[in-house]
Assembly symmetry: C2
Homo-oligomer: 301 residues x 2
């Protein structure tokens, strides 16, 4: 049971945690904190939070659990703003998509990573943002990755784990570096490809016509290019090393593919496509949760 | 009104054309031809075709309209097999995803491109294949691109246009070269990226774990990597030039993006992402038909 939860950044991620814990009766008071007063007032109207403030120091003053759901670029400022008001027993966790930068921010602000800071990342979200988009089921059957350090207090890890399990999530732990590599591969790289593809087409002279003939497969493929540009700039800067490595690996793959096309090496192309299809089909079979839409929608040629 | 339609390749594309024309009462007899006897017999059971044969020459003998819906790699063989049995007034059209190779195949087989051959491409499909997957509405509100040559008989173009309009499609005409460029950009390149991404992840040591943490955005993004490898090998070989040019263009884009990440140029990254998001959002708004799912589904970070 959390007595007083402070949520810094009451958007889709923070708002959905509040709704889920409330629905489970696992929290007492919820204090919402953020920069947009309009969004905070809406959160209050919707009953997502009980009290609002734009001052992080005030938000955390009596909290036993603090959840940071601000963009990666705002993490350090938020930690600095709350530093001197945190109760010693307060547990702080976050929802940042990159963990090395959050750990670095904590070191910069506290001089070390506080034992009761538990870096975390719920692998969930939608394209929509703001408290309006939040819902209690967002984390059900989703994975949450925690990346505790050697100095992290195990009891704090246990409480954060319990909090996410209450929301229906499956919690796993891994190292900060490994988390950032896995996310670079499965999320950050795909977003770069979608942004890069749409941008390169948008810059072609006949781009309006190009998009006119794009079909359903293109719509699915480029959906993630509609994500928040500022959030993604922050992710790129925060996960620079792991993402650069994945981009280089992908570059080698695409050079091989392009070379095979240039020299009409059908056998090698078939090998690449068959291996990819097998891996993708296996992934969809294994994927939890299995969405009914797992193989809906179309892929036009 | 088509008196006798011969469909060479009774799969998703050929079967759906048969169903649509039948539903519209716009066709007399439909003869189905293909290599898989099992699929042909199923087509007969389902009432998609009235008569079946594995011999293209026999299939087209009395046809006034012939639709070629075989993989690009099988086009030349199919044209050669029917060449001497076509009635002089018969119109031949196809559904190939690349038009330059079909025109080249026709030249090779007939010594010139027959005036009553109308190269075409319905921009529609699903991941599923075979006659079982065919349905009468596949082409409704979809685009069909025809690429007639200077020597193509306008009356033949008019009849093929009418055939597709009967299926509910919007028919437009463009040059062979332009079609192949537009499709390289909107369909062939995205498929290369999806295949390349999934393959490069599948080849990582910890690939099972990688895929385990992949979320919904990844599922959407890589859906097209589940497409038929043989069909895609053929498309790559058939559209080698235009696709190679698009791959090169995309390579330049990704090099710029990777460089910006390496040097932490947040301003340039933001510019790229914002331009891509604007183009993608504009595209979804304009997209016809607007699917209810146009911005459903999630994009995890």
């Amino acid at each position: 049971m959390i007595e007083r939860l402070a949520i810094i950044g009451v958007g889709l991620i923070g708002g959905s945690l509040a709704r889920a814990l409330r629905a489970a009766g696992a929290v007492g008071e919820i204090v919402g904190c953020g920069r947009s007063l309009g969004n905070l007032e809406r959160a209050l109207e919707l009953g997502v939070v009980d009290r609002i403030t734009q001052n992080p120091a005030e938000a955390v003053r009596e909290a036993d659990m603090v959840f940071l759901a601000v963009p990666l670029g705002a993490m350090r400022g938020a930690l600095a703003a709350m530093r001197d008001s945190l109760r010693p027993e307060a547990i702080v966790t976050d929802g940042g998509s990159v963990k090395c930068s959050v750990v670095e921010d904590a070191r910069a602000v506290f001089g070390r990573v506080p034992p009761r800071l538990v870096p975390g990342h719920p692998i969930a979200g939608t394209e929509h943002s703001g408290v309006e988009a939040s819902f209690a089921e967002l984390y059900r059957d989703r994975r949450v990755i925690l990346t505790p350090l050697a100095e992290t207090d195990p009891e704090a890890v246990a409480r954060v784990t319990a909090m996410w399990q209450t929301c229906g999530a499956e919690v796993t732990a891994m190292s900060v570096a490994h988390h950032d590599e896995v996310l670079a591969a499965t999320s950050h790289l795909p977003h770069m490809l979608a942004f890069g593809l749409v941008d390169s087409l948008a810059r072609m002279r006949e781009n309006d016509e190009i998009f006119r003939y794009a079909a359903g497969g293109f719509r699915d493929f480029t959906r993630i290019a509609s994500s928040n540009p500022v959030m993604w700039r922050d992710i790129c800067l925060a996960n620079r090393e792991a993402l650069s490595a994945m981009l280089a690996r992908f570059g080698v793959e695409m050079t091989d593919l392009a070379e095979s096309i240039r020299r009409s090496d059908g056998e090698h192309l078939l090998e690449i496509f068959a291996r990819a299809k097998a891996a993708r089909d296996r992934y969809v079979d294994q994927a939890r949760p299995v969405h009914e839409d797992a193989d809906r929608s179309s892929s036009q040629t």
